[in-house]
């Protein structure tokens, strides 16, 4: 809600002069809320400064590796920490192990693939659940809402624990063979769905674990948005003889489309940055492209957390990790930008029905 500009600041200019009051500028500054503004400004610039400092540090640290790998970073599939016990070589003043190669394509694709699978599973499930929750009686909706809050608040390491010890083996033993037998038989999809079903450490389990983390975000936001659709609009749809499905498809969802998109982007951001849970279930296969739903793979975040110890003894490896961190930041920032543009576009073409009701 907009607070009229008159109340902004409260500095000397906008306030009516009190009769008999002091006119010294210090006094005005003090009474105009100067100290609070100064302290507030000091606090408000901190996040921005931290952000700039972060980027500067990462870019400086990443420059040697960027020079070393060039475009191979994005195109090559081999990530090699080098012949650890070979004779060190020097590049650009850095002493490092010979034979190092930094192809991050499997990690980049792995990050995108796990998040994609997570969203493909999470979005329909969250929307379906939210649509149902919105019509449940108040008490039941409260209990289910509690489950959503629980899932949202559970530390990701616990979800990783559950994924590694419980979900992974069950998926490998029962769910994956089912998928391999059905979708895997479809010609053209055999390469991705039809291979050997692995041991529970891989792309599918990682996607499932991420989906569990993303569902609460999308579901609770969607539920609030659905509750916010005006009753009048929905009653109008019913009056026209629409079934539930048609009402949802034609009225409810388009009404809240931009909000849902925002929630999906929030979920995507969570999935892209998730580290510990994925590290526990992905199989940590440094140079394996995610060509197969069940095979072991790796994401950027999982690589950083598993291999930081190896990297820190070798300055070029640390530089490559800084480059990886930059790549991950670029991916998340790009998704945010694309999403903001999409949301604006979707809001713009929303149904004219309802605006102003």
């Amino acid at each position: 809600m907009a607070v009229p500009a008159l109340r902004r600041g409260g500095g000397a200019g906008s306030r009516p002069r009190r009769p008999g009051g002091t006119t010294s500028s210090l006094g005005r500054w003090l009474r105009g809320g100067g100290p609070i503004r100064a302290v507030g400004l000091a606090g408000a610039v901190v996040p921005g400064l931290v952000l700039i400092g972060l980027l500067v540090e990462l870019i400086i640290k990443a420059i040697p590796a960027i020079g070393y790998s060039g475009l191979h970073f994005l195109t090559s599939s081999t990530w090699n920490f080098g012949s650890q016990y070979g004779t060190p070589v020097t590049t650009n003043g850095l002493v490092h192990a010979p034979g190092e190669e930094f192809g991050a394509l499997p990690q980049i694709l792995g990050t995108l693939a796990t998040s994609a699978i997570a969203l493909i599973i999470a979005v329909p499930v969250s929307l379906g659940a939210a649509l149902l929750i919105a019509e449940l009686p108040r008490r039941l909706a409260g209990i289910v809402g509690g489950f959503l809050e629980l899932l949202a608040g559970v530390p990701s390491v616990l979800i990783g624990l559950w994924g590694a010890l419980t979900l992974g083996p069950i998926v490998a033993a029962h769910v994956s063979p089912l998928i391999a037998d059905t979708l895997g038989r479809v010609p053209g999809l055999t390469g991705f769905f039809g291979q050997s079903t692995g041991n529970g450490q891989g792309l599918f389990t990682s996607g499932l674990v991420l989906a569990v983390m993303v569902i609460p975000i999308i579901a609770s936001t969607s539920r609030d948005l659905i509750r916010g659709v005006p009753v009048l609009t929905q009653e109008g749809a019913v009056a026209l003889g629409m079934s539930d499905l048609e009402c949802v498809r034609k009225v409810t969802l388009p009404w809240i489309a931009s909000g849902i998109l925002g929630a999906v982007v929030l979920g995507l951001g969570r999935a892209l940055g998730e580290t510990i849970a994925v590290a526990m279930v992905c199989g940590v296969a440094l140079s394996s492209l995610p060509t197969n739903l069940y095979g072991a793979m790796i994401t950027i975040a999982a690589n950083i957390i598993q291999n930081l110890e190896t990297a820190i003894t070798d300055p070029l490896d640390i530089s490559a990790f800084a480059e990886l961190a930059l790549a991950l930041m670029v991916i998340t920032l790009l998704t945010n930008v694309v999403a903001t543009l999409l949301v604006r576009r979707v809001s713009g073409t929303a149904l004219p029905v309802g605006r102003g009701l």
């Binding site: 081999t78 650890q84 016990y85 034979g99 050997s196 041991n199 440094l286 140079s287 291999n307 110890e309």
Partner: protein, 382 residues
């Protein structure tokens, strides 16, 4: 005046100590060849010579340790024993991996980093003041999950390299059958289990594969985190304990695990293979085999870094190595340095008696390496 008395007093102690040290070291070199196949602490005479230069423990203090999961069970026993002998000292231990041991010790984040792998040239150039002090001898066992077999399988470096390479995929492959005549091998798929973290066990295992089969396992794959060749259904586990759990979870698995986990390995119904050594014999990791292996190599150099892989002693175990305590020679204070020196010396003497080493199936250092270790310990200053 007081200072002169103090100097004289110090000299009075040091001179006879130096003479004693000279006398004892000449006698200890003659006992080198005599120290064989016992797990008793090597040459008490050498320790008597070295003791005067090891400072006493301060009355209170803390020690922090992290690193190798293979060495962790022994470090836990050392923690209990040392803190009961020195009640004012507190020791914090953690089981992570050898890479963490090296990097944390190098950066001064912990006092002692445990590692199964000696320092590489790159690591030495990154941490010039870091030294690796041998504290014991351990072995890496090759463990597999085939409940139907009773006798241990014979496996060679070539076969193991081809298994982890993806060239051999089932247990009844002719190459494995050739090494095990008369054994009915199941047709189960082989599931390779490897370490996901920066592991010294991986280094030792990879060095063995490279020593026996440099074509299938080139030296570019000898590292704490090598780029593992892709094998179907491979499991990546973090830490030696997880290797046991991982291998136990899937029939047909094969894994490489330090012998300090022997009791857990047998409790999980896993079998240990007999591994081909450099003399063409198949041996398992018994204390006698470890001692034979370590004695077949020349004495450790002054830096302490030495490979004990692929011994040519007929009774020796092939995948053997020193357990290292990585310590920064420049510590934050003299008291801290004294504490570390005292602890490490205790570890290689009292802590290397059969009551400790027997629990983890390690063997004690041979005499020459013991002396090298003492010299390295003396280099730690505050």
């Amino acid at each position: 005046m007081a200072r002169r008395i103090r100097l004289a007093g110090t000299a009075a102690i040091l001179v006879p100590a130096a003479l004693l040290a000279a006398a004892c070291s000449s006698s200890s070199s003659s006992t080198t060849s005599a120290s064989t196949s016992t797990s008793a602490p090597a040459s008490a005479s050498a320790s008597a010579a070295a003791t005067p230069s090891i400072p006493a423990a301060p009355s209170s203090g803390t020690l922090t340790e992290t690193g190798s999961s293979v060495m962790f069970p022994l470090v836990s026993e050392w923690q209990k024993g040392y803190t009961s002998a020195h009640p004012g000292i507190k020791i914090s231990t953690a089981s992570t991996n050898s890479g963490t041991g090296i990097t944390d010790a190098g950066q001064g984040l912990v006092n002692i980093g445990a590692s199964d792998a000696y320092l590489s040239a790159t690591q030495k150039s990154d941490y010039p003041t870091l030294e690796n002090i041998p504290t014991g001898v351990n072995a890496i066992e090759v463990v597999y999950n085939l409940p139907s077999l009773t006798a241990p399988l014979n496996l060679s470096g070539t076969v193991l390299a081809q298994i982890y390479d993806g060239k051999i995929t089932t247990w009844n492959d002719p190459a494995i059958a050739k090494l095990n005549p008369g054994v009915t091998l199941p047709s189960t798929t082989i599931v390779t289990v490897h370490r996901a973290d920066s592991s010294g066990s991986t280094v030792l295992f990879a060095q063995y594969l490279n020593a026996q089969d440099a074509t299938d396992w080139p030296s570019s794959l000898v590292a704490s985190t090598p780029t593992w060749p892709k094998t179907s259904g491979a499991l990546a586990e973090t830490g030696s304990g997880a290797m046991v759990t991982g291998a136990a979870s899937k029939v047909g698995s094969i894994a490489y695990i330090g012998d300090s986990y022997s009791s857990k390995i047998s409790a999980a119904k896993l079998s240990v293979a007999a591994v081909l050594n450099g003399a063409g014999k198949y041996t398992t990791a018994t204390p006698a085999a470890l001692t034979a292996a370590v004695n077949s190599f020349p004495p450790a150099p002054a830096s302490g870094s030495e490979s004990l892989i692929n011994t040519s002693a007929a009774a020796g175990y092939a995948i053997t190595g020193y357990e290292y305590a990585d310590v920064n020679t420049t510590q934050s204070s003299t008291t801290q340095a004294d504490l570390i020196q005292n602890f490490l010396y205790w570890a290689i003497t009292t802590g290397s008696s059969p009551s400790y080493l027997g629990k983890v199936d390690f063997v004690a250092l041979p005499t020459p390496t013991f002396n090298v270790a003492v010299n390295l310990i003396n280099k730690i200053t505050g």
